[in-house]
Symmetry: C2
Subunit: 342 residues, 2 copies
DNA sequence: GGTTAGCACTCGACTGTGATGAGTGCTAAC
DNA sequence: GTTAGCACTCATCACAGTCGAGTGCTAACC
């Protein structure tokens, strides 16, 4: 659809603009050397590219800047995935070289390194516990009225919650309940827990315990929100302040308000498909970042998506570099996951 | 030290400036009515107050703004603690009216309400676990190589960590270790755990288990950082963007970088003494907020400080309103703590 | 026909100037 | 001790003029 020369020029403009954040003129492209034409020729092509919707002109006597469509074409057809520097590879690997502690930490740490290397903001969604299964259930009374409930999944994820103990229930009864739940529910996927609870546990419990109904509602309240709960890790949120396009306090505010709002973030980042995904401008699912780009990578185990790591920056993002890092990271994460879950 | 008239004028200037964020002139004070003097008289007093260091003048032909010393005097001697509105009291109480779940949630929720009511940023330090004692210890193997360790305190706080299992240790041995630890260590304050571990547990363990040394290092690594670990909850971080003094991206950046750095925050907020504390400008312990004010309140149990909740805003803060809220909150929190810990 | 030099034109960014007005300090009168 | 009056200061704003980067178009060139 575009001629080779048009592609070269578009590529040059996007590259220059990404570096300088300033409209690119015909003369500066001609001088670069890799496009061997005079400014006049380039101007003609630029006019064509603008007509086709790949470029925009802030005002008559300014150079051109890429449109969203232009960025899209650049990402899809032009971007060069230069190799990462030794230093960058090293720092990416350093995350996984550490002693394994919690998987959440790995994800969080990855986000942190990513934001440092890219100078953009990174957003990581912790592993989805939805598909995990119950590994252990525990109920520890703190006093006569409250107890701590702990749910551990087979992925090593721990959730805890303080719950009131229904009146008239003794410690020994609680213990029996915990035993029944553990023998009956261990290995059951979290999202099936509640169904299982009613089908199998109800009558079983009535053999050992008096206030069955109260116990059931208590246990249900514990299991209720665990399957949907997700951790969000932000890193490098101040990085966007260094970008010239975000010198305006209003823009910063709308973006930041999104970053503060966990559910919206989960929607924006978590909806990304498996693999590496580039969302440019309005392709994003939230108004606040309609002049940002986001590059996401999912981490999976056995083809099952666990979570997502995203980098958020201006549409004028260093796509090549970031995509590269995400690729690299994706591979490392996959390796790590395999080791982690065996 | 100040005459009654000077105090009135200083009070009027600070009040006006807090409202308008603009230098206050002699005429506008004269017109307010509560100071019944002509602009000329007020000008004379203003010149004196400036000489004494309570006021500053941005430039010759501008009005006056309070200096840090002026704010300090205002807070110490002049500020009127007007009553909170019914709505405000209601919203503050709403936090504690909810069903009690985790204490962390209460703290977090309090911070959130506080930032909404004040339109400033609030910072809450979760309860210090240092003084809590061990309620329960657990070690759940996930596979042959890793296990989840869970530490529960008597305050209902749960910490968890994934640790590698030393090679050559069987599941049944792990179980024995857990039993020994629970019988010997429950009730011991967290900060004494490690000492206790070496004094009492070592030889006890050798009766049941083969690789004692490896087990000990593993257990130690679990207990290592738990006593210093603290949660920080931020809320309303975008609120400062609405303040006219923070329209400058550079200023925003330095403040935000502080907010992103948990250890520094803990130092800044956590160093506040028991009770309500107002820190104005350079009184704060960090350069980044040397033109901010912070009002902190601690929450305690039996005179023992557990944590701190702070409100961060410009030095031009609505001291009266915020101090009032903090007072109110402090009382509510104390009540809550008593109920919570029994 | 594609390419390029030349040129008039556009328009934002910057600079300098003058007007405006809020606010002051000082003096003298009350 | 208080206040009216007045000259003075200085940030802010609107306006005009200059500059220069960059364009679009035309005509000449290969």
């Amino acid at each position: 659809m575009l001629t080779e020369r048009q592609r070269m020029i578009l590529n040059a403009i996007v590259d220059d603009y990404i570096r300088s954040a300033e409209p690119v003129g015909s003369r500066s492209i001609s001088k670069r050397g890799d496009v061997g034409y005079s400014p006049a020729t380039i101007r003609n092509e630029m006019a064509d590219l603008e007509e086709l919707g790949f470029l925009e002109q802030p005002h008559t006597s300014a150079g051109r800047i890429p449109s969203h469509k232009g960025y899209r074409y650049y990402v899809d057809h032009l971007v060069r995935l230069d190799n990462l520097s030794i230093d960058e590879v090293g720092r990416l690997k350093s995350v996984f070289a550490e002693k394994i502690t919690a998987m959440e930490e790995i994800v969080q740490h990855t986000a942190s390194i990513l934001s440092q290397l890219t100078n953009y903001t990174s957003i990581a969604l912790g592993p989805e516990v939805f598909n995990a299964s119950l590994r252990h259930f525990q109920l520890l009374p703190l006093n006569e009225e409250t107890a701590v409930a702990i749910v551990v999944t087979n992925t090593g994820h721990v959730e805890n919650k303080t719950v009131p103990i229904p009146p008239g229930i003794s410690a020994s009864e609680l213990e029996k309940v915990v035993n029944v739940l553990n023998t009956k529910l261990v290995g059951v996927p979290l999202f099936k827990l509640r169904a299982q609870l009613y089908n199998e546990i109800g009558q079983e419990l009535s053999k050992y315990v008096s206030h069955v109904q109260e116990m059931m509602t208590m246990v249900e309240s514990i299991l209720a929100d665990d399957s949907s709960h997700r951790e969000v890790y932000l890193s490098g949120t101040t990085n966007i302040l260094a970008q010239p396009e975000f010198q305006d306090v209003d823009k910063i505010k709308t973006i930041w308000e999104l970053l503060e709002e966990t559910p919206a973030l989960i929607k924006v980042v978590g909806s990304a498909p498996t693999g590496i995904q580039v969302r440019i401008g309005q392709e994003n699912l939230h108004e606040a970042i309609s002049n940002c780009s986001m590059i996401t990578a999912t981490y999976t185990i056995d083809g099952q998506t666990l979570g997502t790591i995203g980098v958020l920056g201006p549409t004028r993002m260093e796509y090549g570099k970031v995509i590269n890092m995400m690729n690299h990271l994706s591979g490392q994460l996959a390796l790590f996951m395999r080791r982690w879950y065996k």
